[in-house]
């Protein structure tokens, strides 16, 4: 392919890129607003029904007496996310999954939607990473990444299988017992 006779100046390229990205972000916001409008409409119907039933059950005006509460969103039954993460890691054996993959799988499984990338990140840190750490603490999952030497590297997690490590196997062999500890890898 021959080079364009009139190459686009870099400042125009930059502007075009920014325009495209801004347009995309506005489209994403519009879609999210439409989704939230629909959701609000459905919740208004539920709210009116709950108020009507309250009156029916001899508690008229209950909707005015209660303050709003930002309830923790329910994502299925109790323990549903931790059980899903367990199943995902078990299915990945003998391989491992990184935090990003676990996050994407969880979002897809529970059909979660986030209004902003920040909310998605918050979910990754507060829910997914927290769940993985809980499983590590419970002895069910092993963390393969070294947070001390590579604190910003993506987390890598593997379902723990009860088997001896290479170091353990070496220690079992009396002829090689003297060189145990030289190999840093499990």
């Amino acid at each position: 392919m021959s080079a364009s006779p009139n190459p686009t100046p870099p400042d125009i390229k930059w502007l075009a890129n920014e325009l495209a990205a801004t347009k995309g972000e506005m489209e994403r916001i519009d879609e999210e607003l439409a989704r939230l409008e629909d959701r609000r409409g459905r919740l208004e119907t539920v709210y009116a029904s709950l108020a009507a039933v309250s009156a029916l059950l001899q508690a008229p005006g209950l909707e005015n007496a209660v303050a709003a509460v930002r309830a923790h969103p329910s994502r299925g039954g109790r323990g549903s996310i931790v059980n899903f993460v367990r199943a995902a890691l078990q299915a990945a054996l003998p391989g491992a999954l990184d935090t990003r993959s676990v996050t994407e799988l969880t979002i897809e499984r529970f059909a979660l939607q986030f209004a902003t990338p920040q909310q998605r990140n918050r979910f990754r840190k507060a829910t997914v990473s927290h769940t993985l750490q809980r499983l590590v603490n419970a002895g069910e999952v092993e963390r393969l990444h070294d947070v001390k030497t590579m604190p910003n590297a993506p987390g890598l997690w593997r379902w723990k299988v009860d088997r001896p490590s290479a170091v353990d196997l070496q220690a079992m062999d009396p002829e090689r017992a003297d060189i145990v500890g030289d190999d840093p890898w499990p």
């Binding site: 539920v46 029904s49 709950l50 039933v53 029916l56 509460v69 309830a71 969103p73 109790r78």
Partner: protein, 109 residues
């Protein structure tokens, strides 16, 4: 699915909602039966009262269905039967029904 934590949902709440649905089902069946009977002796005032009560019961049923589904989306409110609880304040049998119908034109909700 209910927005609140599962701990706050109780069997008592579910029982009460189900009982209300059953009562509405029962009353609706009665009112619809009377309106569809083509009874020439039905007074205009009574017919109007029955029609108004029918509208109220339909709205009540919808609100109860939405509430039950909010309680647990797996529940099917249409599967709940009907009861005669709605007639209790008026007494039993034919006399109770007569008192119920006599009160209809005067009821505001």
């Amino acid at each position: 699915m209910a927005l609140t934590m599962t701990r706050t949902r109780t069997q008592k709440a579910l029982t009460k909602l189900a009982e209300r649905v059953a009562a509405v089902h029962g009353e609706l069946a009665y009112v619809e039966g009377r309106l569809d009977a083509g009874d020439v002796e039905l007074r205009e005032e009574l017919r109007e009262g029955l029609a108004r009560r029918h509208g109220e019961l339909m709205a009540m049923r919808e609100a109860l269905y939405v509430t039950l589904r909010q309680f647990d989306s797996a529940l099917d409110p249409t599967a709940i039967g009907s009861s005669d609880e709605w007639l209790k304040p008026f007494g039993r049998g034919t006399a109770g029904r007569r008192r119920y119908e006599a009160a209809l034109p005067l009821r505001t909700a």
